[in-house]
Symmetry: C2
Subunit: 255 residues, 2 copies
């Protein structure tokens, strides 16, 4: 259900929501053109590790998709992130450390896939069922790639800043992801834009390129830029917007 | 010197030229906005193997850069290609076979670099010295990458559909290119957009990615698309135009 008041900023209205999925309380946020009525494309944004549903680049991308394209945009907090935590998850270092300490013990993927699918269902009940896109890098791909593989309503996805080794690895977390991606990536058939950072200090470039290769999509493109993990250049946010514009727009006449 | 009449098509004027460089007669073509006056950005187009200076995708790219951006655009025929041949070089298979049969024996690179530099000098004499870009894939990179490395007047380049092995290879032609690119690529410091085809049947993708890695540019991006060597999607021509627009435009006020 929606929670709290509608906040409006330069033509973009924003409203929180909260869903109950199994035993989990899932906090989310929805952005729309001010005074929006009628069904329009919806883009789901998956934030990165130690971030949250309203961190700077998520908020900026949401607002530009609303302002430039007239889309609806939604984000939910990831497991152990944001408002799923008592402390609100604004202390990045603390969130990062807790996640790292638990990453070998619990696989949150199935739960997060279920949370996204529930959120999409609820959003379509509220807003109508228009074209759907997904955008998520790094942890946004860890959970987003399996979500996209499982969810036929998603028609286009921007993924990246993640990879898998070509051969088995000893690290439990990485090996589990390798198995999961090895199963899910070939099942993806929608258009994908995949982003890679050439100097990524967290994801070896060969692993990222390998993951791109595993994607089953007939149409897929990989954009590789120089710089470290978090240094995705502004030009790729432009490219993301164009990608969704091409594949999800135009909005229906009623929008 | 210019050769032949000016032909005009929907706002684009086109005129042939021919230059004498050492013992070589170099045929070229210049495209400009109809009635152009004043200095404007200039983009040089290097065609691919078995093609020529006015083949379909070269002509299409030239016209869009003139029409959308108001740039000047020029192309010259490569060694053993186009109007450098008595037969005009329109029989692709014949040109391809002759080039393949000679590719181990003569290195045309230094000559083509000299031809491009002479053409650029003559064009700037005629048109004024505005910002300069280079675009060339496949054979357009075989010659274009050394040209860009040698020519400080070029400010931005689109390269690709070419690669080098990471280790020495037995093939004489490929080994010579490996040595040449190994020397030249790190010396390139201008922004580069580098295009790769994931299913390239002529250039192994690992070699292409390796060549991207060798480029010395602080700003470089690699766009990888699915499909074979010649199947570069239209979206990358859009990207090429945007790249030059960002880096070479706006045209000076006098344009």
């Amino acid at each position: 259900m929606f929670q709290g008041d509608v906040q409006t900023s330069r033509g973009v209205s924003e409203r929180g929501f909260v869903l109950q999925v199994e035993d989990r309380t899932v906090p989310g946020v929805l952005w729309q053109p001010e005074g929006a009525a009628g069904t329009r494309p919806l883009v789901l944004l998956g934030h990165g590790g130690s971030g949250h549903k309203r961190e700077d680049y998520i908020l900026a991308l949401a607002r530009r998709l609303v302002r430039h394209q007239g889309f609806s945009v939604a984000a939910i907090d990831g497991p152990m992130h944001g408002d799923r935590r008592a402390d609100g998850g604004l202390d990045r270092d603390r969130v990062w450390e807790e996640r790292q300490s638990r990453r070998g013990s619990v696989d949150q993927t199935d739960a997060m896939v279920a949370d996204w699918r529930a959120a999409l269902g609820w959003l379509q009940d509220e807003l109508g069922a228009g074209p759907v896109g997904y955008w998520g890098l790094s942890m946004g791909t860890v959970y987003g790639l399996p979500f996209v593989a499982a969810e036929p309503r998603v028609e286009a996805a921007v993924l990246g800043l993640m990879g898998v080794a070509a051969a088995p690895v000893e690290d439990v977390y990485r090996e589990r992801m390798r198995a999961r991606f090895g199963h899910d990536a070939p099942r993806i058939s929608i258009p994908v834009l995949f982003l890679v950072q050439w100097h990524d200090e967290l994801v070896p470039r060969d692993d990222a390129i390998n993951l791109f290769g595993l994607l089953g999509s007939e149409r897929k493109a990989m954009h590789v830029n120089v710089g470290r993990h978090a240094a995705v250049p502004a030009i790729e946010y432009d490219a993301s917007e164009r990608f969704f514009e091409e594949l999800l727009a135009p909005a229906p006449v009623g929008a």
